[in-house]
Assembly symmetry: C2
Homo-oligomer: 282 residues x 2
Amino acid sequence: MEHIEAIKEFDGWLNRYQHDSVTCHCRMAFSVYLPPQARAGKVPAVYWLSGLTCTDDNFRVKAGAQRYAAELGLALVIPDTSPRGADVPDAERYDLGQGAGFYVNATQAPWSRHYQMYDYVTRELPALVETELPLIPGLRSITGHSMGGHGALICALKEPGLYRSVSAFAPICHPMASGWGQGCFKTYLGNNRETWVAYDATRLIEEGATAMPLLVDQGTADEFLMEQLHPLSLERVCAARNFSLTLRMQEGYDHSYHFISTFIGEHLAWHAKALQVVQTKS
Amino acid sequence: MEHIEAIKEFDGWLNRYQHDSVTCHCRMAFSVYLPPQARAGKVPAVYWLSGLTCTDDNFRVKAGAQRYAAELGLALVIPDTSPRGADVPDAERYDLGQGAGFYVNATQAPWSRHYQMYDYVTRELPALVETELPLIPGLRSITGHSMGGHGALICALKEPGLYRSVSAFAPICHPMASGWGQGCFKTYLGNNRETWVAYDATRLIEEGATAMPLLVDQGTADEFLMEQLHPLSLERVCAARNFSLTLRMQEGYDHSYHFISTFIGEHLAWHAKALQVVQTKS
């Protein structure tokens, strides 16, 4: 992988890399924040999956997460939201194609060659960064926002043991019931809705996914709450399945990074606890 | 003034306003973060002056300052960097005209009608926000970045008593010796360099400005350090005049908001102390 940028922040380094992805068949970019503790030894990593239209840039610029990561000794691994490039299929819409990979493995032409974001995020990227960077192999947690909150939930639900903990900000909890999810699933996965179940957090829990504690923050002033996000569907199936869900309806908060910045510290502390990180700098 | 946006963040509110400026003769936008403490009573304010090409948006999105402001009970007042609009003179260059007001009162046509940012920032805006918002009248500090660091320094140096404290990130310490400063001063103030002295921090101290403690952070990997910023000129005149300067050369940091985000907490704590704010939330 090619190291294309290094910016010092909170005594650690915010790095950007590019590599030729064998999973997505294109050049992919991602960012990794390495906290100061990574100079002395390997550290655990929290993966951040971003929402529609984002690249790796939005989170690293807007969320204010690096301060907490530096305090807690956590690396932040921040992938892009889709394959990219002139050869990669795209759509005119903001919620389909490049910037909208939805963290699935596409099965339909012409998308299937490149849109393999599920395997990219859960397999190729961890293997790459745990080989090349001072990260403790296998010691990972995952979180994200909106489409990326959906991504975090399905990755953790589908891969017992791959992540120590999972959380999400305003996730698309039940994409089969949301316009965003239906548009992408139909395009990437085809018309057979049974194939969509494998990428729907609410349905995965309903179908018997292995229980793990879920932390979800959702703003009550989020403009997408009613039509796209469906946290109450998630709450309903978690209750039915005795799944531990901490769903915090945050009064007055919207869908923006200002909402994320307010609560990212609590999420990283939650993950640090699961990763058994001892706070080494404050 | 018109309240055009309110976003909840750290239990306070990030607001954006527009008003017809009588100083700049155009519609001006600015942001104010009101911490949760402002619900119970009036709070002190820290003014943030941004750098070239910025609006009020950069700082509020990228600096991560609202977390500290919420902890310390400080409002953040974030003006634009120039007058704006189709009727306002502009230039093709990024470092002249709209986005590059340089915090001076222009004397040269056609700039002088609108480019009165010094009076706007030190007079009109404080009077407006202290009338309309829950801010303690007269209890203000000021800081900023690059062109805005220059602005913060000259506002504090030229107006003894107007600000309780001042700090700056990578300020243009001696604009008369920098290409950015020379270009703007020549355009806005004319060819007589004696008129430039009134807006040059290094020269103001040399000419006998009233002493007040200065806190300046400067990254050693800042691409603009040698040609544009001249912190050592500031250091030299402060030493000669027994002016208290804390100049921190921060090893490896660049000119970006990642640098600002790393140290904004320490700057706000410095201002909170000068404003005698008791920490009420942590």
